[in-house]
Subunit: 174 residues, 2 copies
């Protein structure tokens, strides 16, 4: 029988990173206030004309964490419509993703086997084995969208550093 | 006794992602050739004046994979000097990191316990428990630098897509 996967720390970290992203959005709001422009102008910012805008980077990061937790735990993911037009609504989108991710417990993920087939939304009728799904797709894809959101803000002058992205780490003496 | 961690799939994926990054660099070279400029001009490109340049993003991504594999396996990491001035040298830097990452086997990582203290290069005399180190620091940090390198190229017009970053995934019917 294929071994069980240690999935919970990955999903838990998705939650931590979404909380860090939420705090990054707060910093963007303060920056916009100080510069006296509408923070919601960030929603359509892109690093290149054929890249997805900031609003989509946040939505996809949220959905990636949510569907990862759902597909591996077997709990159905709540549907979240892509309708956000303000930072307030983006905070709410992150909160909804977090509520679901936080509801998935270690026990819910304890039974995941490496070769569990996981159906993808795209391409149609295709999927990945759980091991490839988590390490080869969900992890790289989640961080892709979180980092690109960060990079869009950074490129536009928001005063962010790596510690905003990584959050507080539980350092020990070593 | 704290449980052992499933560390190998993460380190193996770092290797795959570095291979994808190497192919991304090839695409940048072809783009520069088509546009008739020196591809090495990318090395000092940044998304904002106080962000690290492309060359540093590649170096740190490589070092992050290398030190992650070293710290968790107990195998000493080879030292790689930060002297690259060309794309050819960046390919060589990636190859050196890959040679080390690929040398670390599943057996080398089988004994890692969640609470193993891992010393960090910075801040001095500080470290993290293996679980926090891998999921809270090495994974997010590795993808931060790979994605920012990708974003710098994308921002400068290189024709890249998500599949260049994710690489070929072993899709199954589902």
């Amino acid at each position: 029988m294929p071994p069980a996967m240690e999935t919970y720390p990955v999903i838990k970290q998705f939650g931590r990173t979404l909380r860090n992203l939420d705090a990054v959005l707060e910093k963007a709001t303060k920056y916009a206030e100080a510069r006296k422009f509408d923070v919601n102008n960030f929603l359509q910012q892109r690093l290149f004309p054929d890249m997805l805008p900031f609003v989509a980077q946040i939505r996809i990061a949220c959905d990636n964490a949510k569907t990862g937790a759902a597909n591996l735990s077997g709990k159905p993911a709540p549907k979240h419509e892509d309708t956000e037009k303000t930072f307030e609504e983006l905070h709410a989108r992150i909160a909804k993703a977090l509520a679901f991710v936080d509801s998935v417990t270690e026990a819910d993920l304890a039974q995941v086997k490496e070769d569990l087939p996981v159906k993808l939304a795209y391409p149609p009728n295709k999927g990945l084995r759980a091991n490839d799904y988590l390490f080869g797709r969900q992890i790289p894809n989640f961080y892709f969208h979180v980092v690109t959101a960060y990079d869009i803000l950074r490129h536009n002058g928001v005063d962010l550093g790596k510690s905003d992205y990584l959050g507080d780490l539980p350092l020990i003496d070593a």
